[in-house]
Amino acid sequence: MQIEIRFFASLREALGLSSLSWQTEAGTVGALRDELVARGGVWAEVLARGRAVRASQDQVMASDATPLREGAEVAFFPPVTGG
């Protein structure tokens, strides 16, 4: 399915990219992260398991187990630090 992926803060800077249209076979947000890690290079580094990365789907916080929706807007970002 086709989805839109967005990146924020330190992830956006490290990847040099704020958004990406992506064709995925992944069924969940966690599987999507693994799919991106499998691209290797900076992707593997920035999204590596063990690094604190949070995710959202359609602008609601998501977990690894969240099922991906067709046409969704998924975002990956570091832990939030507002306030």
Partner: protein, 168 residues
């Protein structure tokens, strides 16, 4: 709930503003109270930019956010505050962009009939915002620019309300 209490809760107001411009505490509190005579208490928290963090001096701070999701996340946390506490109004203002030490960053103001509910709801909203709203701080220090790390203590603060965070 008595008739006056029911009338007061029907008047409740909630709003969120994410913006570059500064805010005026007096004006924000006045807006929360205006036309709601049942209000007997207002509790307001203002967060400001410190000139130091983690042992380094901070020259400037830049705040990034996720437009759209930020508003949704704060509206959801306000819904929770209205469900948990007997409050009449809530207002959140959060600034983004480039800020200097001593600048105001965030306002959380809550109104209620009695003080206890305002105090609690204000702290609940801040604890929630610190760990669940998509904002990120980047500070400029003499050693260069760095992204601020999330604090485990902020997760602990939210857990007091029975909500697991897992942010940091």
């Amino acid at each position: 709930m008595s008739a006056p209490e029911a009338a007061a809760s029907a008047q409740r107001r909630a709003s969120v503003s994410i913006r570059h411009e500064d805010f005026d505490l007096s004006a924000e509190v006045a807006a929360l109270r205006e036309g709601i005579p049942a209000v007997g208490a207002v509790c307001a928290f203002v967060g400001t930019v410190r000139d130091r963090n983690e042992g380094a001096s901070v020259a400037t701070m830049e705040l990034e956010h996720y437009p759209g999701m930020t508003e949704k996340a704060i509206e959801a946390m306000m819904e929770q505050a209205f469900a948990r506490f007997d409050i009449l109004g809530a207002r959140v203002v959060h600034r983004v962009g480039l800020l200097q030490p001593q600048d105001q960053i965030v306002l959380v103001a809550v109104s209620s009939m009695h003080r206890g509910e305002s105090f609690q709801a204000c702290e609940f909203l801040m604890d929630y915002l610190k760990t669940q709203a998509p904002f990120w701080k980047k500070e400029v220090t003499p050693e260069g620019a760095r992204w601020v790390d999330a604090r485990v203590s902020d997760d602990a603060a939210l857990s007091r309300w029975g909500i697991a965070s897992g942010n940091a």
